[in-house]
Symmetry: C2
Subunit: 439 residues, 2 copies
């Protein structure tokens, strides 16, 4: 938030947040939109969003004059709540997150508190893209998502399909968006429409917000595509040229704050959607399955992730046996390794780790190996510790990132018998395992 | 390994592994070095390394003729064991890993079993770069590294320095190389020479191995640099043009198998070292500290990492209190979050998670928040759950990757009192925290 001094200056010059203004400084002339101040910048710096999408800061003492070029337009009300449009319509399911947040000007932090209608009001452009049916599912930060929320979302998607929806958008916080997209990918078997998760890295009431563009690109994509399945629509990079549609499996948030934070791992992008203009480029073939649509929403609660690190201890594995876990993802090192070799007198703990893994598997837990290297394939046949783990019954996570493997294992154990779940872990159900991968 | 049929064909044509050969196929003429066959390719494909660094596969049935252009040269013996060269010398400390591995032709897997002398024999080029003092520390896969091995390495570096070494190379497996480089960065305060860790993604007896080039580039760098500190020398990307020198803090293995797997996170590269020619480009300024060199090798064993995921449970935190951990890295989501808000009736577990974190901190454990997004800064002031965690006493990991934060916390708790350790977590000791970072 700006200081009192800046606010007075803005008031005197009749500039409000999100107005477009011309600023003459000591050595330059700048046009752009006045944004709110991020909390980490010094008080007396105005933040201006330039037409190329970048933001610059200008200190008050360098400003000779400031003048409004155009005011922000008041938005029209669309009252879409519970009224199902008659014409082909798109559904928006709201779950919360930054995309539905605004800045709390008392504390300077971001709070989660837009209603679905308020959000639609903020983006009048959505109207140009057809009827919208808006459904409120929740207003939460995505780190609070639990498996039971996935079930609610899957059922809400099913309900929209039965009402005739042409495509579903789910607004969602970015923190765990990749987990949710993976869960819905597995839960919605043969889904007959596109289901696109949309998040934002900057809250909707900020000029630098990516919320509007991500939403609008998702709508554009749904209107033009024959893709049936679960995807994600987020900024391609840090400018405002295009969004990308990522497959719902193996998408990962790879930056804490940038708008182009989502990357598809060991996988191809589905499409690139230009923001202005109508360009949609399909970047990989999608093979829509034609089987019967079914929502399988079971999830086993007793599944965990453990990350291997140096100086690891056996008790970190035994914990999962004591607590009767049904599934465990080991985020191993490199090609899929864990410290299980007693190579010198300093590595006596490693025999205990080996025994703990064996004992956990013997207790009935399905143990799957992924890699903390993130990119590339797990291949436990190359080195002897990997082969030993395979022989003990550890299942390879192949090209799955650990987050997808975690969700898949919980879903499999929630819907299938253990041996079938174990077998299906290595089968490519939704595009999560790539046969061919560039080394 | 090649099939019997291929081996017969090669024998008939007097071609051995690593010979340079001209191959005439049905529609092409190819020159290159014959490599061994990776296990995942079909049996009857010859693997040829081209002069541009890429490998191609040629099926036997397409080959019209094959002819040797030049044979591999036998290497000369350098007996360097325990003899300290008289002239300026570089030390190589051997710890094992793929760089010191060869393929076991019985099983097809890779085993760790070169002696230091054998390794030096394999790279006669090293001779051109001055005297080498070779020290055997171990022959282990790096996933088996424990804190006590870091202590051994730091002490061995100290011993080499006292003998007059101009620079130390440590050969090391790549799986946990980033953990070790961080540990040595902290342990070796004001180290007066470059200490460069070198690994390989492909074993040394394969034609596609990166072992030789990584080693030679490390030697080149040491001979030309004024850098004092701990770094890593690995392939820049997947061709054989150059290696990069990465800072020892915040380097991460980002691919399971590619040669250019190591990336510096939230940090700049130190230098780029051309393989052929003498080009070294320094990519960031290094500020060598001039204080007294000291090896501080204490490490606290009771430090762990826990990864947050959806459907997380409080018992995964309480475990660390029950087991009396002194430090814990939480690999949170996004800007540094954990599920601690009871937003609806499905999130009752979250109050328990909040209490478990609070109770763990009250028990005396130092809890540090990093992000599973890997890139970008942890900023817990933006959203209310982050601020709540800060208020509970969680320490921000700032720009540190969780692996570096883990090693740093264990090192701080091994050498300082708790309150001092907590304070130093947020101080930039070795370049691990960046004040300025591009958003």
């Amino acid at each position: 938030m700006y200081s009192r001094k800046v606010l007075k200056f803005l008031e005197k010059n009749k500039i409000r947040l999100n107005d477009k203004a011309k600023i003459i400084t000591l050595d330059d002339e700048i046009e752009g939109i006045l944004l709110n101040r991020p909390d980490y910048l010094e008080d007396d710096t105005l933040i201006i969003k330039l037409s190329n999408g970048y933001n610059i800061g200008i200190n008050l003492r360098n400003i000779k004059s400031i003048k409004v070029i155009s005011k922000t337009k008041p938005v029209k009300t669309i009252n879409s709540k519970d009224k199902i449009p008659k014409k082909p319509f798109i559904s928006i399911l709201h779950t919360g997150g930054t995309i539905a947040s605004k800045v709390d000007y008392r504390t300077g932090g971001v709070v989660s508190r837009f209603s679905p209608d308020e959000l639609i009001k903020m983006f009048p452009d959505l109207k140009n893209y057809g009827g919208i049916h808006s459904v409120f599912l929740g207003n939460m930060f995505s780190d609070d998502m639990r498996f039971s929320h996935y079930k609610k979302m899957a059922e809400a998607v099913k309900a929209e399909i039965s009402k005739g929806s042409k495509g579903v958008i789910i607004t969602h916080g970015t923190d765990t968006l990749g987990y949710t997209s993976a869960a819905l990918s597995f839960m919605l078997e043969n889904v007959p429409i596109p289901v696109i998760l949309v998040g934002a890295q900057r809250s909707s009431d900020r000029g630098s917000s990516d919320a509007g563009m991500n939403l609008i690109c998702a709508v554009k994509f749904i209107k033009k595509t024959s893709f049936k399945g679960v995807g994600i629509c987020m900024h391609e990079n840090n400018n405002d040229e295009a969004c990308v549609i990522l497959s719902g499996v193996n998408a990962r948030k790879m930056h804490t704050s940038r708008r182009g934070a989502f990357k598809t791992i060991n996988n191809d992008l589905i499409a690139r959607v230009e923001y202005e203009g109508n360009g949609i480029t399909f970047l990989s073939e999608h093979h829509n399955k034609s089987g019967k649509f079914k929502a399988m929403t079971g999830m086993s609660d007793k599944v965990g992730i453990v990350k291997i690190h140096t100086n690891f201890s056996a008790e970190q594995i035994s914990f999962f046996e004591e607590k009767k876990y049904k599934g465990l993802i080991i985020e191993g090192t490199g090609l899929g390794h864990a410290p299980i070799s007693e190579t010198d007198k300093l590595t006596k703990e490693h025999s205990r780790i080996r025994k703990a893994i064996k004992s956990l598997i013997d207790s009935g837990c399905v143990v799957v190996m992924c890699s903390q290297a993130i990119n590339g394939r797990v291949n436990m046949n190359v080195y002897s510790p990997g082969r030993d783990l395979l022989n003990m019954g550890v299942v390879s996570g192949d090209t799955m990132i650990s987050e997808t493997a975690f969700v898949k294992l919980a879903w499999l154990l929630g819907n299938y018998k253990k041996e079938e779940a174990k077998r299906l872990m290595n089968e490519n159900l939704r595009g999560e395992i790539k046969k061919r991968l560039l080394l």
